[in-house]
């Protein structure tokens, strides 16, 4: 380790299962990340942040069709979780999946191109914002039907188990998704077959415009794992290292044949549910409170305080990320739309 205050980095929050101990605790399961990795995490989060800003801008310019769902504020979950994977591992996510797909390593330009409906897009323009998929990096799909990908994730895990590849499957989903049938069926199947899968619930307090409490009486969603005798943990979803550690531990268990885990990452969607949503339902002060816990600003503070990087270095990182996203977007905009005939392709193999 080349940075000066490593112990500090270990003091990120793990929210324990006991309500009363939601405090800073050292995490021991995962080795301390290396310097390069720490900066990498920040760079990825910044890229996603800028990427989503660009998507919104393009949306306003009418260059993005349909709807789009930004993950702004939730970058630490995507980036922390995917950073705990290794090659061959797979990830499935939702319509709010730009960040997750980028965190797996999908190229900025082709991801943006897909959202713009370009022929060079990840899915040749057929999927769009809600269906970003890049098999080459293990991003197996973004699903637009709530909960529909959780059974899929068990299938990827079944392949890993059956073909003994050692791979682990992770799936991101929202708090409100825990109320749909497919969630229940997938977690039970994963548990009874001890599949190597990690279910990562991004609890951002809302499903569309409905606060969690209006759609379920359960507050601690991780508790639902008990219905499947499944290990579960709550984690601070705005702490990229905490997420990385928790996912890392779950992934390690899965690889060891110890079966699935459910993680509940507490986070916040800083933007509306989709483009049309101004967030009128938020109680006053809530957004501000969560902005103060912004995962990127927090990690930046941590990195400087721990002596990992100077403010100048971090500013440069930020500028590079912004420039990369800008250039990727320009490339994506310049690419052409698919030829109409292509709509008839890709139905059957």
């Amino acid at each position: 380790m080349s940075y000066s205050n490593a112990a500090f980095l270990n003091k990120h929050t793990v929210i324990s299962d006991d309500e009363n101990t939601e405090e800073l605790q050292p995490v021991s399961t995962v080795a301390l990340p290396e310097l390069g990795l720490l900066l990498d995490l920040q760079r990825r989060m910044l890229e996603i942040r800028f990427f989503e800003d660009e998507v919104m801008r393009l949306f306003m310019l009418n260059l993005v069709r349909g709807s789009t769902h930004l993950c702004t504020g939730q970058e630490a979950v995507s980036v922390g979780a995917c950073s705990a994977l290794r090659e061959g591992d797979t990830m499935t996510c939702t319509y709010r999946g730009h960040g997750a797909v980028l965190a797996m390593g999908a190229p900025l330009d082709r991801t943006m191109a897909e959202i713009l409906g370009k022929a060079e897009g990840l899915c040749r323009g057929k999927g769009g914002s809600m269906h970003l998929t890049d098999l080459s990096v293990g991003a197996l799909g973004s699903f637009a039907i709530v909960g529909a990908h959780l059974p899929f994730a068990t299938g990827a895990a079944l392949s890993a188990q059956q073909l003994e590849t050692g791979a682990v499957s992770i799936a991101f989903f929202g708090d409100a998704t825990t109320n749909i049938g497919a969630f229940h069926e997938a977690l039970n199947l994963a548990a009874v077959w001890k599949l190597p899968v990690v279910f990562i619930c991004e609890n951002n307090l809302y499903g569309e415009y409905s606060p969690l409490a209006s759609t379920t009486p359960v507050e601690r969603l991780a508790d639902r794992a008990a219905s499947y005798a499944m290990t579960a943990q709550r984690v601070d979803g705005n702490d990229v290292l905490a997420v990385r550690d928790a996912v890392g531990a779950a992934v390690a268990r899965a690889r060891d044949g110890e079966g699935p885990t459910m993680l509940e990452a507490l986070t916040y969607r800083q933007k509306g549910h989709s483009r049309t949503d101004a967030g009128a339902y938020r109680p006053p002060g809530e957004l501000e409170e969560w902005l103060a816990r912004d995962p990127i600003a927090r990690f930046e503070r941590l990195l400087t305080e721990a002596g990992v990087a100077s403010a100048a270095e971090l500013a440069e990182l930020l500028e590079r990320a912004e420039a990369d996203v800008r250039e990727a977007t320009e490339r994506a905009i310049a690419w052409s739309e698919p030829d109409a005939k292509q709509r008839l392709e890709d139905v059957f193999a």
Partner: protein, 325 residues
């Protein structure tokens, strides 16, 4: 008559029926406090309160099944399935439970459930949010199916659906929500099973619903300029189907074209063609035609989706062909 949008027609119908009958309730995801993702229930929560206008969890099976159970025990629920494509996650509840309850119990109860769903493509929502879902239910006896194409029909069919003692699926085309049109100020009910002759003509009968009704009308205007006189029939409900009006029109024109947004396989258009042939074979001078979407899922990119959906141009071309064959 007022000039309302399709969306406002829906909202007004709901408000009036909530007002008229205490047993009517609304339920669905974000239909309450937020007024619906398409704003079709805007204001109703404030006006009728959280017991009559109920926000639900994301649990479509529970929504539909709850509506069914409530209907059998005294309520008249109107459920919203936000995007019609989500009928996939509650297909059992609609096709196996709702549609069959009355029949399987030997008619012991009636089942006054209305399910509203935002339907159709053309807005860039891609394959899982753009389908013409009415076609999934054509082979499921026991359901009535409304496919309004104007604000007046959106209003009048929905009111009739809510007052009907049977399960009725109402498909609201999302491209039509902002469209304006006259809506009657009196009750304005549209009887289920009564087609509308939208445009009279003598050369060709076109059957079309929803967005395609609008595009067929535009195409007919194009052809009118060329001296081709198109009659357009909008069945407005696919079940019950007003075959008589269609057959009468075909008796006059001798030619039939069904214009639909969905792929041809298992479509309502194919069903209409087969039924017209059965009843009016002698009237047909030429082969009936389908103008349809492609046999593929619906693509996202504008260049692809625009080509996928029958456009006014393509419809006009097919009608021209059919008229001049």
């Amino acid at each position: 008559m007022s000039e309302l949008t399709f969306r406002e027609g829906v909202t007004r119908a709901l408000a009036e029926e909530l007002e008229r009958d205490d047993r009517v309730i609304l339920l669905g995801e974000d239909v309450g406090a937020a007024g619906g993702v398409f704003q079709a229930t805007a204001g109703l929560f404030d006006r009728f309160g959280p017991r009559r206008v109920r926000d639900t969890p994301i649990s479509e099976q529970a929504i539909v099944g709850c509506a069914l159970g409530a209907s059998v025990t005294g309520l008249r629920p109107v459920a919203e399935i936000m995007f019609a494509d989500f009928a996939g996650v509650c297909f059992d509840q609609i096709a196996n439970q709702l549609a069959k309850y009355r029949y399987m119990t030997g008619g012991q109860a009636s089942v006054p459930v209305t399910i509203r769903m935002a339907n159709g493509g053309g807005v860039g929502f891609a394959a899982q949010h753009s389908q013409s879902v009415e076609n999934w239910f054509l082979n499921v006896p026991g359901l009535k199916i409304c496919v309004p194409g104007t604000p007046a029909d959106a209003y009048g069919l929905l009111k009739a659906a809510i007052r009907d003692d049977n399960p009725v699926l109402v498909f609201e085309h999302k491209r039509l929500y902002p469209e304006r049109g006259p809506v009657p100020d009196d009750d304005g009910l549209v009887e289920l099973g009564k087609a509308a002759v939208v445009r009279t003509g003598s050369d060709l009968t076109v059957v079309a619903t929803q967005l395609m009704r609008q595009r067929a009308l535009a195409a007919a205007e194009v052809l009118a300029a060329e001296g081709i006189d198109v009659e357009i029939v909008d069945p407005r409900t696919l079940v019950p189907l007003d075959l008589e009006t269609i057959v009468d029109s075909v008796a006059k024109t001798g030619r039939l074209v069904c214009v639909q947004e969905c792929p041809p396989g298992g479509s309502w258009g194919a069903t209409v063609v087969a039924a017209v042939i059965e009843q009016a074979w002698e009237s047909l001078d030429l082969r009936p035609r389908l103008v349809s979407g492609d046999e593929t899922p619906i693509p996202y990119a504008g260049s692809l989706e625009d080509a996928w959906l029958p456009s006014v141009d393509r419809i006009a071309g097919e009608l021209r062909d059919a008229a001049s064959e």
